[in-house]
Assembly symmetry: C2
């Protein structure tokens, strides 16, 4: 019997696990709710970094080394923009640019972000259902010792160097989940928190009114975005430290303790199992670093097996 | 003694002669006033086809075969845009796109079109002074048997097939010449009407309040955009026919009769010399088809010699 699964995800790690899930189960039974707090306007284009990474990854178009953007990309636009004195801090490839231009055009003609995303998924052959967390704009602001700044400025332009003091999801109170998000969660047999940054990828999704509440009755498991004392990619570990916590798989589990039934950690973090269990969270220990496509599929399958165990333990 | 020259120009032919003039005289003494009636918004970008053709041509970046756009161009953006269901009727190359994006960004931050154009010329090493006819938007509309349409729709999307009935330069009454245009004309020893479409490239410039008046005391010569019964490129000949006139170098001269002292026609149109002279316009007969760079330079030099003759005939 196929489980209906909802995955919550942000950037590169989240996209990899979502892709693993989509390969390990019937993709049509998988709904992926994606962070849109990083979305921003740049050169007149509406750019949705996490949605794009997700769609490119599921479509098999993502660059396997960089994680973001497209494989088989060229950079003539950006080269020329630099020559003309334009802003090149956000790296826009020639092919990638078309996605932003067409999204901007469709949004301008009245389509919602959900509709545009669905259109892209259809054209690019993505079978899993990809939903933005909300069709309304929510802007993640990072409070740092250098002041408050939009996420992409912090992340790309400032290379996540500023010391963080907190996070703000502007507009989130007035936002609502995109059509289908709550229904998918309510119908889900399992919810998976992908290995995405807890502070700036998953928290924005959980802050959209109604989503956290809808999760509570579901079995929820997560895969740690921290291995050892490091994030596989990006500032998650640095953020835990700067927020006054040890950067470990334990801290990441504790961050979501009120939601979690299960937490997947890496073999090298096996010593944290007991502490995490004390949070009331079941632990699955495995190799969670996703280097290649096979890793994704294996970890996706393990997450599904763990989910089935959690469900049987709870008698669901 | 170097003449100060102002050239009025539109598309590809105009850019070629302007380039010839810039090579045949000290480029810093040449001011080129460019049609902006074709400018339009597309995919959120402000696109100025004639200014771009001029700047690319003078910078040595223009594609020598197509005439528009850049040599050494790639088309990955457009390929992908087509795949995503976006509009591909207007051909945007990857490098070319950077110019539009950076112009749009600068206009959005408050710069004028003149300032943006000057910036591009400086960066791309264009020595002649390139001015838009106006910093205010003027929109050329083509009245056709299929209704009224913006120029780029008529020209690119509809491939200049609709039968024209007239032309409208929306916004032109409220526009004013860009800074420096009137001063350059008033200081000019010679004004050259480049071989551009009379109806949709030169007429819009002449319709900007103040420009036609400023030209009257100057010696003005033009180079015919028609050779035999054909335009070298584009719909000029077809337009003359549809407006009820024979498509000849004579008709084009007659179109500007109130402004012209001299008119340069092709060898194969030598039989029209007498009729044109009867308009009160001196004629220079030469080979006016500009195939290569040498042709441009030669024709530019001939135009300057003809201008000097006209000045001495009028005792200037």
């Amino acid at each position: 019997m196929a489980l209906k699964v909802v995955a919550l995800a942000g950037g590169v790690g989240g996209a990899k696990l979502a892709d693993g899930l989509a390969q390990a189960m019937p993709a049509r039974d998988l709904t992926i709710v994606v962070n849109t707090g990083d979305d921003f306007d740049h050169l007149g284009l509406r750019i949705c970094p996490d949605l794009d990474t997700m769609v490119y990854t599921l479509a098999g178009l993502a660059d396997p080394r960089r994680g973001w953007g497209r494989a088989d990309e060229t950079w003539h636009f950006l080269e020329e923009l630099g020559r003309l004195g334009g802003p090149v801090w956000f790296r826009l490839g020639d092919r990638d640019l078309a996605l932003h231009a067409e999204r901007t055009r469709r949004l301008g003609s009245g389509e919602t972000l959900s509709e545009v995303t669905q259109h892209f998924c259809q054209i690019l052959g993505v079978e899993a259902r990809v939903l933005p967390m909300s069709d309304q704009p929510v802007e993640t602001k990072v409070m740092t010792e250098d002041g408050r700044m939009p996420f992409e400025e912090y992340f790309v332009a400032r290379k996540w160097k500023p010391v963080v003091k907190g996070f703000l999801f502007e507009g989130v109170e007035a936002s609502s989940p995109a059509p289908g998000v709550l229904q998918a969660i309510q119908a889900a047999d399992l919810v998976v928190l992908c290995p995405s940054n807890p502070w700036v990828s998953l928290d924005p999704i959980l802050a959209v009114p109604g989503i956290r509440e809808a999760l509570h009755p579901r079995p929820v498991l997560g895969v740690s975005p921290i291995i050892g004392n490091q994030a596989v990619k990006g500032p998650a570990a640095k953020m835990f430290l700067e927020m006054g916590m040890e950067p470990t798989a334990y801290s990441a589990a504790a961050h979501f303790r009120d939601l979690l039934q299960g937490w997947v950690i890496d073999n090298q973090d096996g010593h944290l199992e007991e502490r995490i269990t004390e949070l009331g969270v079941q632990v699955w220990v495995s190799d969670i670093l996703m280097v290649d496509d096979r890793d994704r599929r294996r970890l996706g399958a393990e997450a599904l097996r763990f989910g089935a165990e959690l469900r049987s333990m709870e008698g669901m």
